[in-house]
């Protein structure tokens, strides 16, 4: 044998050209290295491109969202005159709560404004002047008096919100008469007066995080949608995680491999590809109309999103369960562990990191889902912050959709700010998932 191979080596060197193996390899080596370099460059380019896209997106949204985080307030000289309040002066000594609640604050506001701007006359001008301030201003006056009844019949200074058009005008500093600007020459003059007398101040917009939706952009906040999202995701996770994991464990560990389970597998994969609006229709037809669950509720939204999330979780969990080395199962079986014990004390903990990743992908998908929720009425204009899963609610993506559709200029910033909140929520979820994952992996 040795002899034969020696001969054949000699043969092969003779038949080929004078190049030795080393030379041939080094020739092709150059080409191989070139290929590798080229591939590396392409890879680096695609990574950079993706990164650039994300940075552009976030940068653009952030720059657009920034105006939404502060708001202009104006200091008004308010006179709580009894006659303006429409309260009888004789009862002024013992002001009842009901009197304070039902008093005419709109009149107080108007009269106080006319006092501050004595030159304004004529109904049209007066109306324009009143429009400079948020429709919420009279309620600010009311709250103020109720909090401090001693101010009754006295002059005081009160901060109220400016109207959103004025707010946008101040933030964006458009030249006057710019198309689309909803503020007149005269109004601009009054605003300039207010600025000159240092009555206007920009403050951080806390109400964006503490208020619910409103028709008035200066009053609209994210809290209602945020709570709706949290409640909906809570229901989704509560339903889809145990169901998905149980389904995956059954299919992988317990179910016999036959045509029926093949059929189920195909259908789970199909389910993952069903357009989400179809699930919305199903929710409307079955969950609301047939089972009579409340419309617009996070409970129904959560159930619909569960249908959407479930296949994602099942597919990811099955992959994670499959990846658990069979030697671990055999070891436990060999010790006399029952199937159940093998599954829950060995397979499941090992597969947990993968299962969690799948669940997070599913929930992240559900978090951004709008279409199915439109069908079940979560698109309604809801002013109250939902407190339970059967209250009417909306969710962040739907809120974004609603605000993006609104004509007021100030909603542009609100929309971007809501997108930022949604993205931050997503990041928080991903971060917690990564932490959970590493915790399970350490075990």
């Amino acid at each position: 044998m040795t002899k034969i191979s020696k001969n054949s080596t000699v043969d092969s060197t003779n038949t080929n050209s004078a190049l030795s193996t080393t030379e041939k390899v080094s020739l092709s080596l150059k080409k191989r290295h070139r290929k590798e370099k080229r591939f590396k460059r392409i890879g680096l380019f695609s990574v950079l491109f993706g990164f650039l896209l994300v940075v552009t997106l976030i940068g653009d949204i952030t720059s657009k969202a920034l105006p939404a985080f502060h708001q202009h307030w104006v200091k008004l000289e308010v006179n709580y005159q009894a006659s303006w309040l429409n309260i009888d002066e004789s009862t002024a000594q013992s002001l009842s709560a009901k009197q304070m609640k039902t008093a005419n604050y709109r009149n107080v506001l108007k009269k106080s404004l006319y006092q501050m701007f004595p030159e304004v006359s004529g109904r049209k001008d007066k109306r324009q002047l009143a429009k400079l301030f948020s429709s919420n201003a009279e309620f600010t006056l009311k709250d103020n008096l109720i909090a401090a009844p001693l101010l009754f019949d006295k002059q005081t200074q009160i901060w109220v919100r400016l109207d959103d058009d004025v707010d946008s005008y101040l933030k964006e500093e458009f030249p006057l008469g710019e198309a689309g600007l909803r503020i007149s020459q005269k109004q601009a003059q009054w605003v300039a007066q207010l600025i000159a007398s240092e009555r206007i101040e920009s403050r951080f917009n806390f109400s964006f995080f503490t208020a619910s939706d409103s028709r008035e952009p200066e009053l609209a906040g994210i809290k209602g949608a945020l709570m709706g999202t949290i409640l909906t995701m809570f229901v989704t996770l509560l339903l889809s995680f145990p169901l998905g994991v149980a389904g995956a464990l059954y299919l992988e560990e317990f179910a016999p491999k036959n045509r029926f389970t093949d059929f189920i597998e195909i259908n789970i994969n199909n389910l993952a590809a069903v357009p989400s609006i179809v699930f919305g229709l199903l929710g409307l037809a079955v969950i609301i109309n047939l089972f009579g669950l409340p419309r617009s509720a996070p409970l129904v939204g959560g159930i619909v999103l569960t249908l959407m999330t479930l296949p994602t979780i099942i597919i990811a969990s099955r992959a994670a369960i499959k990846a658990v080395p069979p030697s671990i199962r055999e070891a436990a079986l060999g010790l006399g562990a029952s199937k159940m014990q093998v599954t829950f004390s060995h397979v499941l903990p090992q597969a947990m990191p993968g299962i969690i990743t799948g669940a997070i992908i599913g929930v992240a998908q559900a978090l951004g889902e709008t279409a199915p929720l439109l069908m079940i009425g979560m698109v309604a204009f809801i002013v109250d912050v939902p407190t339970s899963i059967v209250d009417s609610a909306t969710v962040l993506p739907v809120q974004i959709f609603l605000w993006a559709d609104s004509p007021e200029r100030a909603f542009l910033a609100k929309t971007s700010a809501a997108i930022l909140v949604l993205l931050s929520l997503l990041m928080v979820i991903n971060l917690s998932a990564t932490m959970l994952r590493s915790k399970f992996e350490k075990k």
Partner: protein, 286 residues
């Protein structure tokens, strides 16, 4: 060159085939019976789908002795071993016929739960497969799931004695809470043995327990097997004929799903009765 080599190989193959076809596989030669049998297997057949992996094998495992199952790759010795604690139950297409008894009790009886059987017939696998848990938990797991203990002190006791029996205690006593997967290969395998004996089985099946280990670790495992036979009946599948000769009292030679020869180890290795056995143990093929 290629042509020449393959021609040469073909020639080798031809001789092997020829020598095999000359020898008929008929009845098992030697002595399959043991005076004091812990397990008895009669007329065992195993099919994977249409393929027959075990063909009519009968043998006894002698109590408190080591029986080595040897033979070339794919001869069915691992399959046979896995039938002894019903590990093949987990394979859907696997069909088993024949009589398997443990202390004259049919282990494939419908009334017998495989979980109970596996508590009595433990298994050590080819590749060390500790659970990804602490050393303590690895050993404690079996005792815990079977409810063999009433309190922590008893569990500590079982863990310690099992690790001692497996000759691992002194090496790991200071780091019982470290992960079992962090041990060396030989230590992991001894941990797996400790884990198996913590359940106090009557029979231990070992599927090439030392094939993934270096010679020193192998020597330690072999010594351990020799000690363990005082308390347990052991069946060991091995590729190494030296190992079979060193640790076992009985040897069964498997060939293509059949039991060719069985007998006392010293007889098999000094005076094999069957031509195939002789070829195998003299290294002619396998």
């Amino acid at each position: 060159m290629n042509a020449i080599t393959s021609a040469k190989q073909e020639q080798v193959n031809v001789t092997t085939k020829a020598s095999l076809s000359q020898i008929e596989l008929t009845e098992t030669v030697g002595n399959i019976y043991a005076d004091d049998a812990k397990m008895s297997i009669r007329n065992a057949n195993v099919y994977y789908g249409d393929k027959q992996a075990i063909d009519n094998i009968s043998l006894d495992l002698a109590k408190n002795q080591v029986t080595a199952l040897i033979g070339p790759s794919g001869c069915g010795k691992s399959t046979f071993l896995r039938c002894l604690n019903r590990m093949n139950d987990t394979i859907d297409i696997c069909k088993i016929t024949g009589q398997f008894t443990l202390d004259d009790e049919d282990i494939y009886a419908k009334s017998l739960d495989p979980v109970l059987l596996r508590a009595r017939v433990g298994m050590v696998f080819q590749k060390p497969n500790p659970f990804p848990k602490s050393i303590y938990e690895n050993v404690a797991y079996g005792a815990r799931i079977h409810g063999l203990i009433n309190n922590k002190a008893e569990l500590d006791e079982i863990v310690e004695t099992s690790l001692q029996k497996a000759g691992l205690f002194n090496e790991v006593k200071d780091r019982l809470n470290d992960p079992g997967t962090g041990l060396s290969g030989g230590q992991q395998q001894r941990l797996c043995i400790a884990r198996t004996i913590a359940v106090s089985p009557e029979v231990i099946l070992m599927d090439e327990p030392a094939s993934a280990l270096d010679p020193i670790a192998t020597a330690i495992i072999e010594e351990l097997i020799d000690e363990l036979k005082e308390k347990y009946t052991i069946a060991i599948v091995t590729h190494s004929m030296q190992q079979a000769a060193r640790v076992s009292q009985h040897t069964a030679y498997f060939h293509m799903g059949k039991l060719v020869e069985m007998g006392k180890t010293e007889d098999i290795f000094t005076r094999p009765s069957h031509k195939l056995t002789e070829n195998y143990i003299t290294g002619r093929f396998g």
